[in-house]
Symmetry: C2
Subunit: 479 residues, 2 copies
């Protein structure tokens, strides 16, 4: 009973917060506007004062409002000054292969230099991770595991970890069982097995565009051709474009980051996911679904996955904790549908097994609810960061700059005016110990040279804000 | 100075022990013979009594001699009753592909059943591993690593680990530097990158025969043809056969377990290694060298590797600690010669990085000398086991049984009389909770059906001895 009331309250404060948030984001209330007092709102909405306060704290932690002593709460985020969204992408309709290896190597060469402000990296900063609890988890796992974790684990993967992933899949109507899942050494490792399972050298895969550079590199190393498809910065890969491509080209597999894609932050609407699966089922083409950001949603509930709509086992659903918990643990997984046996064998043949110790630590973390607790905090921090980034970009970047407004993940896609070369911008910013990811790295075509990806997966500090100011200043000089 | 004397003494007792050992193994002194007294030997050899005693303890721990109270030391191992060596292999001279997947799955299905005596597995039993020290190493590494090991490590691999592997390579004149080495998730993972780097689907690789089944499976999953070559149970792959094959066939790469191969335990003489490298250099064909047992030698010094003789970078040298320290840690490495850049990229694209935590634990273990200390003990235990196994096989297996006498590693290859089907033997032994590895699993041809691999990588106990008796009894019934 007590729990029910708590859940109800949580729901109430969230509802109130969401209502105010949407007014702020849409510019209905502007920066500097005073919010109704706690007392007034409490009466108006028929909820307790503490529920209203909880809603205000929540909005404050996201950087949307601020309290002024002896005065009340004021809007801080300026919805009206929010930049426009970037345009839809229109890559070439035939596979190309103009790689950007040199650029990629140069951009990531200072990745481990702690004197830099790293806006280019695709991993959460350590200060956002539950390090003490993880350390305790490691010590515990060494104690409880057979032979301290020195033995090979179950070849399909840690059974408890697979149970927990299956349990979590309820969140997106996944209906997975532990037997459907194979654990891997991270999500790229899952994608590698998926591609090895369903493609051969010379095959063509269809992907969104821009797309995570690691996927382009992996495809290339396997001798695959990459067909980049038109993609919307909000709703992701265009279903109609995919449909046309399937009819026009010989496509052997489709690979999409469905939720909060890297680099744009786009999220395919659930309705479109359903269409995509139906379309691929019709053509009997496997869909490799990279869903490693799905749990980092800012809306009240998790988006579905394409796997949710998979009736015939054509979806190979991939995930990991590398973007949310511990990149260095190398813990990922794949639910390969009808390719299960193939993937199990690939894992056995190519690496025998995954790391016993770290997989057990993550299994325990999921089981005892620590992961859920951590994710709740992480989502709030990242959502706040995303709004602060967008605001800073509106304030400091040159007129005409466009930026995505992701509802999850930790990447923003920024589109500058056509003339501004973001690789040159990167070079100039490196002098100031700031690193960004030029847009050209996320395609095999000659495009996105005026775009960049910014990661907001760190603690928001005056240094980060100053860095964004400098990015804006340098970009303005180049405009 | 003190250290020099210690080393000198160690050398002396070893020399004396080796002398007696070779007399025992060759049957010059027979089981039951009394050895000269400690006093006599000490005078005769001009060494201290304690040095002689040390030599005796060493031989006793290997099961070669035993002390009888108030009487002295007696020979225990019966060199004269040692079975003959198996015959050289003569596989078909064209690649074949009759796989044994079903058999392999059935044989390993009880792998994790602790009520079994496991003579079929290829990993050391936990009781041979330094578990307490490793557990301490994990706790220490969590404390000292950046963010407790949750971050990605250096993409080429843990620098200290690469330093230690380079340092160790001096043992076999390897002259490696940390920059030459890429760490991996175990030796199979190294082989996977090696094959991806130097072959394409449809290519042919030349290998020894019998050969480790994992290599056959990996090759098959990459669409490679496997040419099995004649192999000697003592000296490994036949150089002349390789030479002829290179002239006759289109071979794209050669893959050999050079030291104490799995399954036969054969070790290619250093002179032959040199020839093999020269031969492959002449034909400009890469050699993938699987050297994961090289450090588990029973002779006074480590055999060389093919990499020792590699002048032009054609050897991709692979190793791991999975067979000596901690299979579940997933720590391996590769020194890919001129394919370094390719392998670095493959690692990055297919798994991003290896597990930060366990790689640091192993790096520390190597650095502080614990690994060397552990290996010294492990070698002695395994050598003793190998001799006890051979003796038990001589005692209990049917007349005409042949067995290898490996000088390292932990595998024996047993050749029964032609009529005895070891897969059927495996089935019968399963009823008795004993598991063996039928020879047919180690080839893609219709051969070795009367052979089996036995692992002696466990603690020698009355149960193990009883299990070997049962294997012998069942085999005799089938003869």
């Amino acid at each position: 009973m007590g729990k029910d009331i708590m859940l109800r309250d949580e729901f109430l404060y969230q509802q109130i917060a969401d209502g105010i948030e949407s007014q702020i984001l849409s510019g209905v209330v502007a920066a500097g506007d005073k919010l109704p007092s706690v007392r007034v709102l409490s009466k108006e909405q028929g909820v307790s004062v503490s529920t209203v306060l909880q809603a205000f704290y929540h909005l404050e932690s996201k950087g949307l409002i601020e309290s002024r002593p002896q005065s009340g709460y004021y809007v801080r985020f300026n919805g009206a000054r929010q930049p426009l969204l970037p345009s839809k992408s229109y890559p070439q309709a035939i596979p190309q292969d103009i790689d950007a290896e040199d650029m990629i190597q140069r951009v990531f060469q200072n990745m481990h230099d702690t004197s830099f402000v790293h806006l280019e990296v695709g991993v959460p900063a350590p200060e956002l991770l539950p390090l003490a609890k993880l350390a305790k988890g490691v010590t515990g796992a060494v104690r409880t595991l057979d032979a301290g974790g020195t033995c090979y684990e179950n070849l399909q993967g840690n059974l408890n970890l697979r149970k927990q992933i299956a349990r979590w899949s309820v969140m997106w109507n996944g209906r997975l069982t532990p037997d459907d899942i194979v654990t891997t050494s991270g999500c790229m490792n899952s994608l590698s097995y998926a591609l090895l399972a369903v493609t051969e050298r010379g095959d063509t895969i269809a992907v969104e565009s821009p797309i995570y550079l690691g996927i382009l590199q992996l495809a290339k190393s396997l001798g695959l051709k990459v067909l980049e498809l038109p993609t919307d910065p909000v709703t992701g890969i265009e279903v109609e474009a995919l449909k046309a491509a399937l009819e026009r080209n010989k496509i052997n597999a489709c690979l999409v980051v469905t939720n909060f894609s890297n680099p744009t932050g786009s999220c395919i609407p659930d309705e479109n996911k359903k269409h995509i699966v139906e379309l691929l089922e019709k053509h009997q083409i496997p869909l490799i679904e990279d869903d490693l950001y799905g749990d980092v949603y800012f809306s009240p509930s998790r988006p579905k996955s394409c796997k949710t709509y998979d009736e015939s086992g054509i979806v190979l659903w991939c995930g990991s904790v590398s973007k949310t918990l511990a990149p260095g643990y190398r813990v990922g997984w794949i639910a390969p549908g009808k390719y299960l046996d193939k993937v199990k064998k690939l894992k056995l043949y190519h690496t025998v097994a995954t790391t016993t110790l770290t997989h057990e630590v993550v299994a325990n973390f999921l089981e005892n609810g620590r992961y859920e607790h951590h994710l709740r905090k992480l989502r709030q921090v990242l959502h706040g960061n995303s709004l602060r980034f967008i605001q800073a970009i509106g304030d400091h970047f040159p007129e005409g700059t466009k930026v995505t407004c992701p509802r999850g993940g930790f990447m923003l896609w920024v589109e500058l005016n056509k003339g501004i070369d973001t690789y040159e911008l990167h070079r100039r910013l490196n002098q100031e110990k700031i690193s960004i990811a030029p847009g050209r790295m996320f395609t095999l075509q000659d495009q996105y040279t005026h775009c960049m990806r910014l990661s907001y997966g760190m603690k928001w500090t005056p240094e980060v804000e100053a860095a964004l100011q400098k990015v804006g200043r340098h970009a303005s000089k180049m405009a």
